[in-house]
């Protein structure tokens, strides 16, 4: 945790508080990461029937950790799409804790991690379902794409479920670039870098499918693909 050690005193004390009032929808899109270590923490309360959509490209060139604590009231929804991408031997991570405190709330988290050059992408996703939060529907989907040996992608799902009538789905896979697809694209005239960019774009696109605003989606995708420049082919 070298990155954490280099953070200034007090950097870990700050929490951003967000409340989405009953029946309302908030949406936030962030590109995070710089050349200094960074930890961002937010605590989101989503009131009855409200919705919070959060989309993040985590593409720093140093340790970057995003922590999100979410508390869902009755019938609320939390949508999270996150991408970690990069090389340079550092760790980029998302840590989420989603509390289904009341019945009928839903949450959907889609994380994609693309790494090379000894870098690591982590997703620590905790889901808590309270005893009376029946009809909860919570989903987590993590996929890692490693462009070379030595990079890593890790998912740690943690489910704590006290209600009995709930749906909690989680999946995690890690793999390499589809070489058959890359050759197919090259056989049609795309150079290796363009073929890789298209495949990575398709891979991380899943995280932003739920984002309907095309301009915002493009900003997040472009930031991620810009980080891909110089990656191992």
């Amino acid at each position: 945790m070298d990155g954490v050690a280099r953070l200034g005193a007090g950097a870990l004390d700050h929490w951003r508080e967000i409340t989405v009032p009953a029946g309302e929808t908030f949406r936030a899109c962030h590109v995070v990461g710089s050349d200094a270590p960074q930890v961002s923490r937010m605590r989101v309360t989503i009131e009855e029937g409200a919705r919070y959509d959060l989309f993040v490209t985590n593409a720093g060139s140093d340790y970057t950790r995003i922590e999100i604590e979410v508390r869902l009231a009755k019938g609320a929804h939390f949508e999270f799409g996150g991408v970690t991408i990069g090389g340079a031997g550092v760790t980029r991570e998302f840590v989420t804790q989603v509390v289904h405190a009341e019945p009928e709330a839903t949450s959907n988290q889609t994380i994609r991690a693309v790494h090379w050059a000894g870098a690591t992408g982590n997703f620590l996703g905790e889901i808590k379902v309270a005893r009376h939060a029946q009809k909860t529907d919570a989903a987590q989907d993590f996929k890692g794409l490693l462009l070379e040996a030595g990079a890593s992608a890790n998912a740690v799902p943690q489910l704590e479920i006290f209600a009995d009538d709930v749906k909690c789905a989680h999946g995690a896979t890690v793999g390499a670039l589809d070489e058959a697809a890359r050759f197919y694209m090259m056989a049609r005239g795309l150079d290796p870098a363009t073929a890789q960019r298209l495949l990575v774009q398709a891979f991380i696109g899943d995280a932003f499918v739920a984002l309907e605003d095309e301009a915002e989606r493009e900003i997040l995708l472009d930031a991620a693909l810009a980080a891909l420049e110089g990656a191992k082919l």
């Binding site: 056989a187 795309l190 150079d191 073929a195 398709a202």
Partner: protein, 249 residues
Amino acid sequence: MTMLEITNLHASVGDKPILKGLTLSVPAGEIHAIMGPNGAGKSTLANVLGGKPGYEVTAGSVTFRGEDLLALEPHERAAEGLFLGFQYPVEIPGVSNVQFLREALNAQRKARGEEPLSGGEFLKLAKDKAGLLKMDMEMLKRQVNVGFSGGEKKRAEMVQMGILDPAFAVLDETDSGLDIDALRIVGAGINSIMRSPDKAVLLITHYQRLLDVVKPDKVSILAGGRIVETGGPELALRLEAEGYDAVMA
């Protein structure tokens, strides 16, 4: 003018030698069918010409329009005018046919020093070529080969060929997986796109039926990693009637 000149080609997959001294010459204007039993090396030949990783050339040479083809990367071969029609076209989730083909065509044009096509120009071209293969434009807006049936994938390959407009096509069992109607459409597409005095085709197939539509000028039999016999269209008819063993005996 000779377009493709293959001389004494030896190639291995892993440690296993597959092509063992294959020699073949295809001039411009020719459609040359390659037939042969399973395991003869037909797909290996196609993959070596396309530059697929894992196929190692251990001896011999391949010259394409006077250039050393084997020295080029797959995308450079495409820009030089070589098209490889895949026996098993690859699915690419998350990438639409339109985006893929426009980027591919413009990459080829850039490599040749030509101006890129605009979105509108490209769509017009794509619509034209899709129509030739009786493929709905809506299918081209979908992800590359995802959810396509075997026959649709082969038709989509030919739409790609029409859009990229290569000088030379290596078609690896483009007829497999096609029903009779689709076979006629695909055959007519090959004729329309590639039948030209300055183009040529290497048509790898198991069956005579595609050759009823795409009439070859030459037919060669590939067996044991070499061309063992070359003749006119009648050779394919003899193979169909008598089988490889009898013809090659």
